[in-house]
Symmetry: D2
Subunit: 174 residues, 4 copies
């Protein structure tokens, strides 16, 4: 069984035809899983529905706690792309005992699933697959690739996630 923690992001944005603005209503994850004819056992938990640029430390703490408290040891977190790496770091470095032994994969989309030309279905298929086979750790799955949380950053100009060298840990002698 896999837990899907929904936090919103572009993935789940919709177009309000009365105002012309983008907004959140319900998550599209269950519909996407049906479209993918998924037979993976999942439990979808809509934790919040927000733009990741608006997330506060308190929001991230809620995500950490949701991951830590989940009985499942494999978790997909759907998340806005702008601060996905920041949340991945928050989860990985939280010190929450419930998180340590779990495989946690964050994913999102560059274009809302409800629009044409969305990468959302591809990304969900990808994240759901990586989470089943990767060892415990916190990862970002985007662009068909997967990265450890401390070896990835978003290239905002290109709209893609790219690898980066993890920061060198200061040695105890320093």
């Amino acid at each position: 069984m896999i837990r899907v923690v929904v936090t919103g992001g572009t993935f789940d944005k919709e177009y309000n035809e009365l105002t012309g603005a983008l907004f959140f209503k319900d998550t599209h994850v269950p519909e996407m899983l049906r479209l993918g004819r998924s037979r993976v056992g999942v439990r979808v938990d809509t934790l919040m529905m927000m733009d990741s640029l608006d997330m506060t430390d308190a929001d991230r703490t809620r995500i950490v706690q949701a991951c830590g408290a989940a009985p499942e040891s494999r978790i997909v977190v759907t998340h806005g792309t702008d601060t996905m790496v920041q949340t991945a770091r928050a989860v990985a470095t939280s010190g929450d005992g419930g998180v340590a032994a779990k495989t946690i994969v964050l994913t999102g989309a560059m274009v809302p699933y409800a629009f044409g030309s969305s990468d959302g279905l591809f990304n969900l298929g990808s994240a759901l697959s990586f989470v089943q086979v990767l060892p415990p750790g916190v990862y970002v799955a985007m662009n068909g690739r997967v990265f450890p949380w401390d070896e990835v950053e978003k290239d905002r100009a290109a709209g893609i996630f790219v690898g980066r060298t993890p920061p060198v840990e200061p040695s105890p002698e320093d």
Copy 2:
């Protein structure tokens, strides 16, 4: 670098608006990878475009040889679902030396990508992810899950792939 060997299947079928029949033209894999904003290095090789029910032993031999000869050690094969398991077995039991050390994942779709409601994009995201992290072997990736070639069968009535107990190998003493 990952090799994608295209063989056709429902995945790539199109609707001929003059005759009302389904047919094959070009593969949609490159378009699907663009839609998924994939940044995985791939080389797409259209080996054949056919309904998997029409595949002969000679066709399967060509697939085995394409997998064996590919310089890439990780290969996705797009394939019709009806005989996907049969081709997976042909690849796995071919004795082709070039196949042995490779991770080979077969996938397909229940509904053509060109139609609404296709599972194709989800499946491609899934197969492309599994192939990057699984150890050498031959697998089927469908319904968000992955199965070793000898532990899967298609449930035709339900239109899904399900696990099955692998056949017991006869012991040398038998």
Copy 3:
């Protein structure tokens, strides 16, 4: 109020993912009207769901009778394209008194609405508009155009409807 008489045709075909065949289930007309945010008062009547190549004289008689018996004076008939002109002629020449004073517009689609790249929504918007403003008569609305029933034919090679000179009526002296 406008009556929509549904008879099937490519318009309403669906893909059976278990068999790979095209088939009919329910009409998509109500869903299409919702998508078009239509506020035209309509009553949808699913008379039959069939490929127009399979229509018999008895089927056409049922269509004539449905048009004749409808209390609405403006009627859209959704129909397969292959024999749409033949049915238009059957309606126009039926001698059914109920048909004479009505505006009847036949339309269909080259690609099923449920598939990508369908012309169905465009055609429905077109037929529904023509039927509101044309004088009594029987018409075919396809390719954004409208034709009187006896001045149109389907160009099967091109997949479009084109005008044709109406047959010269034999004069009484002949």
Copy 4:
């Protein structure tokens, strides 16, 4: 031959996946006509690409002039819905001699064509049909219906166009 004057509006908005904002690039009208398998002779003229809430009197004057100067006597104007009625009035009351004898139909969409669930294709099919058969005048075609320019208003709360009684003209004695 029909002139299509493109002015932008929701119809043609796109999603910028780098910024998450909606913006204008090229018009989708030619692609939509291809999708509709339209065989109506049209000439598409992209006059401006803007949100109709941002239109100034000068913009409306340009639209009036484009309609007046067009050699075609039947014109479809694609336009944002928020001030579509205002522009229809500007065209109808412009006193431009080139406009007087023409049939001019304004249309738009509540949801961008590029998104799922757009009414754009339905509306284009509808406007293109009405413009071919209506007598000279200025009209708004939305929701499958057509209204003379002075008998329509947008119900913003419901997101639809509805009829309204035309204002009583003050008599010369008043």
